[in-house]
Structure formats: structure tokens, C-alpha cells
Symmetry: C2
Subunit: 116 residues, 2 copies
């Protein structure tokens, strides 16, 4: 059993095209022996965003802190702490921070798509 | 894309032998099309606990609120908000609330082991 504290996990910038002010911590992945799914913690700065994109794997998301939005079928849907999202594979999506504090959320994906 | 709020998901008692004051919300599972992993939110009352048990699948856990402990190799390891745990398949474990407020955590497992 591995036990850590999320703030001790390195914060890495998301380098994907279209990502602005977006960083993440890879808390659990295949390097820990997690063969099925990876747990990542995202932090988006004010005015920041993730790419508007899709990919062949799902997201499971829980909003931890701050206020933001998610792009769904061309609409910006407001999000806040306590929201849970299931984004199926191949569905276009984008997260934006719409407030003045960090927008923080957990996002899980299948392990095989997470570089360690 | 499904978007919900965790407090709108029904809270169900955990009926496993050894569970005391333990309830959970199944936020995302195979019923939502999540074929790989299921997201569940646990709430353990003061003096409550999950069973001391093991099973042939892993847990990925994030502590949301309160204070508690986890049984690891015979030791009770203290836990608080911000801790992340990876519990491999077949490793014995038990969570306990050690404080006066609810002990809350997210716990993910492979979908095929989550009854919808």
C-alpha cells in the first residue's frame, strides 16, 4: 500500500497544444502498479484552460475547488466543487477556469494512456 | 457527457459484514457507460469503519474530509484530507473514522467489481 499527500506529488505543466495555465500531479499510475486506471490532479490558473479536444478514452472527473466550465456540445456548462463528470471516449471537451482562484479537479483515465 | 453533483447521488449503507456506520454514493459506474473503473464516495460516521478485508482488485483512494486511519500490515496509519492511497489487489485493509465528524473519501475500483 502506498500512501502519499497530494501536495508532495510534483506539479507538472500540461504541454499539450491549446493548454493555458494548466498543470497536473500524477498521483497514481502504472509506475505504482496501477494497471487499470490513473489518478491525476489538475490545477488551472485564472484565465487558464485545458485543450478543446477528444481522445479514445474516457475521463472520470470530480471538481475539488474553484469555479470553472466544461465545453459540452458547444455550450460552456458551469462547474463548481462537488460536480462529478463522466466524459465518454471520443467526446470533445475543454475545461476553463472562470474565477479568480485556482480551479482544481481530479481526472482519472485508463492507465495505458497515462505516461508515467 | 454526464454531469451531476455528488450530494444528489443516493447515499446507500454498506452492508458488508464488519462495516459499521459506513455508507457510499456510486457516482460513476458501468450503468453510465464506464467500462473500466467506478467512482464511489464513502462517508464513515464517528466510531465507524469499513470491513478489515481483502479482495482481488485494487483501490485508488483520495481523502476528502475528516480524520481517520487505514490498517496496513497490522498498523493503524493516520489519514487526513489530501492523502492519496493505492491499495493493490489482495492486500488487507480497513478504514476507520478517528474523529468526531464524518470521514469522507473517494474510492475507485474496476467497474466489473461494482454492482450498479
Amino acid at each position: 500500500m502506498n500512501i502519499t499527500t497530494i501536495n508532495q506529488v510534483p506539479l507538472e505543466q500540461v504541454a499539450l497544444p491549446g493548454a493555458v495555465g494548466c498543470a497536473y500531479r500524477v498521483a497514481i499510475s502504472a509506475r505504482d502498479g496501477a494497471e487499470n486506471f490513473a489518478m491525476r490532479f489538475f490545477e488551472v490558473t485564472p484565465d487558464g484552460q485545458t485543450p478543446l479536444h477528444s481522445h479514445p478514452y474516457e475521463h472520470e472527473v470530480y471538481i475539488l475547488d474553484g469555479s470553472g466550465s466544461v465545453w459540452r456540445d458547444g455550450q460552456e456548462v458551469p462547474l463548481q466543487a462537488g460536480n462529478v463528470l463522466f466524459i465518454p471516449a471520443d467526446e470533445k471537451h475543454q475545461f476553463k477556469n472562470t474565477a479568480v482562484n485556482s480551479f482544481k479537479f481530479i481526472c482519472l483515465i485508463p492507465s495505458k494512456f497515462q505516461k508515467c
